[in-house]
């Protein structure tokens, strides 16, 4: 690997970690309550910003580092309780998170961030900071005055502003393997003041059992100097998660500070709104009253990070994909073997068949396990919604509460990535159109605050996502009116409530009076449905006027494997997804009608189903002209179609292979697979095929090439061809 590759890798790793830290930062900021100083939360937020700043500086992203520095300064003031979180500071900090995200995208080759925007944010941060510095100056002078009267002898010897710190540093055994050397850390500390070091070797094993790569010594240090706790903590930044660290103040000053903190806390408590905040505050008071010990350990599970800390490793998706490919090959090999098993002689057949069955079982299990590796909790996707709801409800002037249920439900990674945008659109719709304004809600006898619930759960072989709102529900009158206006339905048509609801998925549909930048362009719902259908999923809506709506999305658990029905047209084998097949009928010629010389339709129990001649699409000669053929009735995007085939072959699990990898996308086909005999079969994309059929593409071709279609010969209504 050459140098540029290495650098690109490190670059990417940094950006990944930065993105994670930004998520932590954002989640923490959203949790901040006005006027409450939650030290744990503030420390978390500060640490996230600090990591970003440090990482950025190390890898040369200076502008990001500098920008984060300003955020960090402000956050530092907050966690030192010189500044209380306010909605203004929260808002600005969240806005800064957005700027940081944009700056990160810029360094990945994205759009450049305007310098003016960056500076505007820095100024806003500074503005808030100005108020603080003045406060700080007052507090410090007050402190120093008191310190001179209450100081101990030791302190008197040490000097008015000198601090005495006792540090307990207990590295985890693997610390040395991370490339960190305690000696370096102590040398850094020495620069801050007078340092005494005491090594505790009690845990060091006997010489026969010692592993020189591991560290079993822990240290007690004493540092005297004009040093703040933060400066000490900063020295241990790199090893934060690889050790246990305790920094204790041994002088009188901290105790004094804690008294002041207690007073501050009591004042805050009286100012706060009743309810949750007071409870938090009580806990904090106790915390503050104790000596200010800082224990830095592995991040607690309270962090909003969806990643479970224990026992997990990062694996590149490339490796997983390779593994999945191999398992796919195994499935194919096993189906090849099955064929041999069927063709073997009587004597060997039984034994062979048993072995092959066993292999089949093992392969299925292996396959399931490997598929599970690609599964990620839906929380990764849900994570963006608190912020979205927070911003949008502010923008729309509505009060909205977001609930999330079943965040641990696991979904295939690709599905997760592709369902994100549709979900965002649906939630925005619920926020914009579903939930009414606070006044309207009150007038309707509802609680001012509306609730949107995101629910995820497994059902059979599917994962189901639901967006539930307690808003006004779908306005059927408006929807019907708009549909008529756009010509989607005729005035005379009688539609059931459910059918009216389904109209929102039609292209170009939107009842929004004004197109806001949030929704209303009328391109949304049909695109959402298309995206979901592309994932082999379904989307549906249920609504009760005045009470709310439920949007249900159903997706398959895995995308790489398909339950397929093999069909033959001419000498070619195609695959149709079993899920999309409703039924298969043997064609009854008397039920076929020809319309305007072009299209054949089949009368199935009162419904007219268009017939697609797959032989036309595949540009193959029809098998047995006029003979009995089969019609496979499939459903794609709410429409039923009959695909005319020559023969139904077996059903099997089919591994989907990409056509686009080495070729390109082919309309009407979603991919290919390798059959038991090693040949390639194409997988039909039912909605795509239908679209091609409707656009008349090959119809015209088949007319020109004068291909004879069996039925038209017998049952032409308009005397054509």
């Amino acid at each position: 690997m050459n140098d540029t590759n290495d650098f690109a890798d490190i670059h990417e790793i940094f950006l990944e970690e930065c993105a994670e830290n930004l998520d932590v930062l954002e989640a923490g900021l959203l949790e901040l309550k006005t006027g409450v100083t939650d030290l744990d939360l503030l420390n978390n937020i500060f640490r996230a910003a600090h990591s970003i700043k440090g990482g950025a500086a190390t890898f040369g992203f200076i502008p990001i580092s500098e920008f984060t520095h300003h955020m960090e300064t402000l956050l530092d003031e907050m966690r030192n309780e010189n500044l209380q979180p306010s909605s203004e500071s929260g808002h600005i900090l969240l806005s800064c998170v957005d700027v940081l995200r944009a700056m990160m995208e810029e360094s990945s080759g994205g759009v450049a961030v305007e310098q003016a925007n960056i500076e505007k944010h820095i100024n806003q941060l500074k503005q808030i900071g100005i108020g603080v510095t003045q406060n700080e100056a007052r507090t410090t002078s007050k402190l120093s005055a008191e310190a001179s009267t209450e100081v101990s002898t030791e302190l008197a010897q040490v000097g008015a502003f000198q601090r005495v710190w006792s540090i307990r540093f207990k590295p985890k055994p693997h610390l040395l393997e991370t490339g960190n050397d305690p000696l370096n850390l102590f040398q850094e500390l020495e620069k801050l003041g007078a340092l005494t070091v005491k090594a505790k070797t009690g845990k060091v094993p006997d010489i026969e059992m010692i592993d020189p790569h591991q560290c079993f010594i822990h240290w007690e240090l004493k540092l005297i100097g004009e040093v703040s706790e933060d400066q000490i903590a900063e020295v241990f930044d790199w090893v934060e998660f690889d050790c246990e660290l305790e920094i204790k103040a041994e002088d009188g000053i901290r105790e004094l500070n804690s008294d002041i903190e207690t007073i501050n806390a009591k004042v805050q408590a009286s100012q706060l709104m009743p309810g949750t905040s007071t409870k938090e505050n009580e806990g904090k008071e106790d915390e503050v009253a104790n000596s200010a010990t800082v224990t830095v350990e592995a991040p607690s599970s309270k962090q909003a990070k969806p990643n479970p800390e224990a026992g997990s490793i990062r694996v590149s998706t490339h490796k997983i994909d390779q593994l999945i490919d191999l398992v796919g090959e195994l499935v194919i090999t096993q189906s090849m073997l099955r064929r041999f098993g069927e063709e073997a002689s009587e004597v060997d057949q039984e034994a062979l068949r048993d072995s092959v069955s066993e292999l089949l079982r093992n392969t299925r299990q292996l396959q399931e396990s490997v598929m599970m590796i690609r599964m990620l909790p839906i929380s990764f996707c849900f994570a963006r919604f608190p912020r979205l709801v927070h911003d949008m409800s502010a923008k729309l002037g509505k009060k909205i509460n977001l609930e999330m249920v079943g965040e641990n439900t696991e979904v295939d990674k690709t599905v997760l990535e592709k369902i994100s945008d549709p979900l965002v659109h649906l939630v925005r719709n619920a926020l914009d159109h579903g939930i009414e304004s606070p006044n309207d809600r009150l007038a309707a006898g509802k609680n001012q605050t509306g609730t949107i619930t995101l629910k995820a759960f497994h059902e059979g072989a599917n994962v189901v996502l639901q967006i539930i709102d307690d808003g006004a529900g779908l306005n059927r009158t408006r929807i019907l009116a708009k549909a008529i206006e756009k010509g989607i339905v005729s005035e005379s048509e009688e539609l059931t409530d459910e059918q009216i609801d389904q109209l929102i998925f039609k292209p170009g549909f939107s009842t929004a009076e004004a197109v806001s930048d949030v929704s209303g362009r009328g391109v949304g719902m049909d695109v959402v449905r298309r995206n979901i259908v592309q994932l082999s999923g379904r989307v549906d809506v249920k609504s009760v006027p005045g009470q709310g709506s439920i949007l249900t999305i159903s997706l398959p658990l895995t995308l790489a494997i398909l339950e397929g029905q093999l069909i033959r047209v001419g000498n070619q084998i195609f695959i149709i997804s079993l899920l999309s097949i409703i039924e298969t009928v043997s064609v009854d010629h008397s039920l076929v009608n020809n319309i305007a010389g072009d299209a054949d339709v089949y009368r199935l129990r009162g419904e007219h189903i268009p017939i697609i001649h797959l032989s036309d699409y595949a540009e193959l000669p029809a098998d047995r002209p006029g003979a009995d053929r089969l019609l496979v009735i499939v459903e794609g995007e709410g429409q039923r179609v009959g695909i005319l085939v020559d023969e139904l072959l077996g059903q099997q699990q089919v591994v989907i292979k990409s056509l686009e990898k080495n070729f390109r996308a082919v309309p009407g086909v979603t991919g290919a697979t390798i059959l038991g005999d090693g040949t390639v079969a194409l997988i039909i994309d039912t909605p795509g095929l239908l679209k091609k059929y409707l656009s008349g593409d090959w119809q015209i071709k088949s007319l020109l090439s004068a291909k004879k279609r069996p039925f038209s010969d017998d049952f032409v209504v308009n005397g054509h061809n």
Binding site: Q572, F663, L682
Partner: protein, 178 residues
């Protein structure tokens, strides 16, 4: 077949080793560094809606690889395939990424190490294939070898549509939203 091997120097940095093949009586060359393998002819699965020169796809050890009939691509008539027919699998660089594609040729010829002096710019006319894909011409004792720019050739075979009359390339927008 005699070649100029003994008289020329190998210049590896310039990638001047060429694998040559016969097509409609002409000898063409491709940079050997782009050749992944050469295999005997196997039946392809045709893809609906593709130009005639796209024969279809094959299964190459688990990967789906498209196969292009170069005779048809270069405007000649297609012939039936015999046991000399080969599929040359090349790895090319398209605008959208790398692709592994097979090209059908009548037969494999040689591997030549070329000296940069032997390599001449393409003439204005005189070849059966569009000048667009010819990188250069090389004079060999047995005749002229036409060196192909496979990146361009394959790229446009997959994504582009050639206007045979004007020899201009029209890139089609493949509708991927289905």
């Amino acid at each position: 077949m005699e070649n100029a091997l003994s008289q020329t120097l190998v210049d590896e940095t310039q990638g001047n080793q060429q694998l040559t093949f016969i097509l409609s009586g002409e000898e063409y060359g491709v940079d050997i560094l782009q050749v992944q393998e050469v295999k005997s002819w196997t039946a392809t699965t045709p893809i609906p809606g593709t130009p005639d020169y796209v024969l279809g796809v094959i299964n190459l050890r688990g990967t789906i690889v498209p196969v292009i009939d170069l005779r048809v691509r270069f405007g000649a008539d297609s012939v039936s395939f015999n046991n000399e027919t080969v599929i040359i699998v090349v790895r090319v660089n398209c605008a959208v990424g790398n692709r592994t594609v097979g090209m059908v040729a009548d037969a494999i010829s040689e591997v030549y190490d070329l000296n940069s002096e032997d390599v001449k710019p393409p003439p204005d006319f005189g070849t059966t294939v569009s000048i667009h894909y010819v990188r250069s011409l090389v004079s060999m004792p047995n005749g002229m070898v036409i060196l192909l720019d496979v990146d361009k050739l394959i790229s446009e075979s997959i994504f582009g549509v050639i206007d045979q009359q004007t020899d201009s390339i029209e890139v089609s927008h493949v509708d991927t939203t289905h």
